[in-house]
Symmetry: C2
Amino acid sequence: MKLFFASDHAGLTLRRALMEHAASLGHDIVDLGPDSTESVDYPDYGNKLAQALAEQPEAHGVAVCGTGIGISIALNRHRHVRAALVNDVTAATLTRQHNNANVIAFGDRVIGVETAKHALTAFLSTEFEGGRHQRRVEKLSPAS
Amino acid sequence: MKLFFASDHAGLTLRRALMEHAASLGHDIVDLGPDSTESVDYPDYGNKLAQALAEQPEAHGVAVCGTGIGISIALNRHRHVRAALVNDVTAATLTRQHNNANVIAFGDRVIGVETAKHALTAFLSTEFEGGRHQRRVEKLSPAS
């Protein structure tokens, strides 16, 4: 699967570790930055990832900031994005099954790297269940 | 502070425990439901909470669903809402300081009730830091 990765400065270390992990699983990795730990604004990189997913709707995204909260809010401002902030394999699995999430978000200051890797693996290998969940997902992105 | 509480059926138990906790801290509680464990759609209750905050911008919100993810996405579709899904006191504190979050969200199936109570207490007693964080928060809700 094609995966876009974006973070802010606080999420750079975990973003890079997760990129390496996803590449090792055979996924097609696209790095949206940033490239240094110089301070940047998480909404800018959340919006950049949302734009990439608008252009390639079949892709998924991975987003990281200090808590994962700020970049998740920025992403979920976009109706085609369902960004799930997770802290473990359980939430990563449930959000694919129930929310058909197309972005997984992490907090670099909150989650350990191995826990995040396991959660990403689960996210990438779990299918949406549809059924009653489809109606709810559609309500997240109603026709204008 | 005036606090609006909303959940889906999966979040009813934790929502009620947190309402009791917030009332014991002296806050003004408004319950937006639901009133039973009959299955409902989390976007409906996220939107109901967003509407309440649009009408009373000085209030804050507490949202619960199974993972906290679905109702957070629904809430963050609204530009006046900054809904933070948290799993501990640390994230609850940081999201007030950095994101000026006006909604705290929890996953009933993910977090224990005492951990959630402590996180809610921290959320309600922490101030936004402003400064560089103000610029980022403004980018989450740009002028149309």
